[in-house]
């Protein structure tokens, strides 16, 4: 049963939370092959700069604007061991919370959430916060990611380099 307008709100929220926490766990454990398999393969993984509206991101400079091929290339870069910044990468621990179901219709659901991530490298910890939007599609009782947009709180400020995914 994929029609989410008929799923009771609390049940949908618990399904969505379970999925987002699963994704967060995969990313912290850097199980990137499993993460790639969460995607439908059609949409984008985007970290915008500033407050450019979603519809204009293709024509704006972003921190990353990954289609399926770029996502795979990015993961391959992390895994091949030739990138000094990701060999070894920073360790991360993140929490995802403040989950809001923005829209649910048919097999599609749009989720907003807050992500806090702490990275550790060179004995130094850094803290990042982001508003995250997931556009998910219900497939066989679980979800697949169509689009994911991560808006860092200070995306238009001075950042550091990232050797992991949000």
């Amino acid at each position: 049963m994929n029609d989410m307008s008929r799923t009771p709100g609390s049940m949908l929220l618990s399904d969505v939370a379970e999925f987002l926490w699963h994704e967060a766990d995969l990313l912290d454990r850097k199980d990137y092959d499993a993460w790639l398999s969460l995607w439908t393969g059609k949409g984008h993984y985007i970290l915008p700069i500033g407050d450019t509206p979603d519809a204009e991101l293709a024509d704006a400079l972003n921190l990353c604007y990954d289609n399926d091929k770029m996502r795979r290339d990015r993961i391959a870069r992390f895994q091949a061991g030739f990138s000094i910044s990701s060999a070894p990468p920073a360790e991360t621990i993140r929490t995802v919370s403040r989950i809001v179901i923005e829209a649910a219709e048919g097999d599609r659901v749009t989720i907003r959430s807050a992500e806090h991530l702490i990275e550790d490298k060179f004995g130094r910890q850094r803290v990042w916060a982001a508003n995250v939007t997931h556009r998910l599609i219900r497939v066989d009782g679980s979800f697949r990611i169509e689009d994911k947009i991560v808006r860092l709180l200070n995306s238009d400020g001075m950042l550091n380099s990232f050797s992991y995914l949000f």
């Binding site: 700069i49 024509d59 030739f82 990701s86």
Partner: protein
Amino acid sequence: MTLDTPVQLDLDALYNDAQVATSMYEDPALFDIEMERIFKNTWVFVAHDSEIPDKGSFKLSWVGKEPVIVVRDRKGKVHVMVNRCRHRAATVCEVKKGKTSSFQCPYHGWGYALDGSLRALPYPEQYGDDFDKAQHGLQRLHTETYSGMIFASFNAEIEPLVDFLGPVTKWIDLFMKQGGGFPVKVLGEHQFKVPMNWKVQLENTTDAYHFPIVHKSFMQSLDGETEEMFEFLETGKGYVEDLGNGHSVMVMIPELVDLDENLDAPIPERFAELAQELRDEGYPEDQVKKIVRAVGGAGFNLNLFPNVSFSLAFFRVLRPVSVEETEIRHMALGMEGGPAAANRMRLRLHEHFQGPMGFGSPDDAEVWERVQRGTKGGPDLKILVNRGLVDERPGPDGPLGHISAETGMRAAYDMWKRMMSK
């Protein structure tokens, strides 16, 4: 700040014979002198024309450690002034970029015109009749522009910008051809901070030697044809040339030095889709070829002393924050009024390599930080910039060496020494 007793520096101990002392990256007192003798005395890049397109457009920038406002007045003239109220020092603007008709201090309401002149202040009578508003404008810097590049200087006696640039101007002209027939426009910027001395960054933009090592993972993500293009150390066709005044050029891909040449060459596979899109939009074939050839950027890095580089397809701007802290901006460039598809491709190419999540910059940032960490050991050891002296020869504008030579770094350190000796 004027240093009452001139600090006696042993400059030869700091840089001589293509060897750099470790303290050059670490000494906070030396950093303060650099800010004074170099950044307060030379031309410093502050903004590109396209970032302040209209009357009243402004952006915040820096000259050395000092915050400045770059603004276009009602007549179109560009002014650069210190972001500090003449009354009690509050910044008069904290909006990074925008449009305004004036600047007003939030503390006591002193109001300044777009050219920095003091226009009005509340209850002026308490300053007496002889208060001269003309003496209380925002502190203005000397400002000149070349090909859209806005430079500013605190030094009123400074030579004209074109004299400072010298042979650099012809390379800027070549670089700007990547507008593909349109004016070059800044499309956005990536910003990141690295715990390193600013000179580590200055060196890097004229360092081809690191490319196949540090950027192996970037190379591996390219198609074969593009990867071949970036194997400039293998082919050895390029070169580095000292252009005087600390500037240098590093030619990596000689066939992409002049983008108006070889327009009849076949369109590379990776641009085939874009070319078709442009044809479908009605662009004639000669313009399609010109635009497509420009999309990938120029085949060289032009490294200016002390803070800006024209690097393949973007501007790299450095800002020294403290002796072991440097901020970097990578400004993405596009074609003003050009086809959206071409600009989209330029944005994606920029994101591919540059910025905090690029396939290149994070690896650069890691090795720069490793330099700063490494210099904690062996304080008496020297940093070597002598590579390529072995067959360096006179070029059209200065010493010219192998593509992987450290000629550009020596050019920068020679200028560093010249400015620090004054």
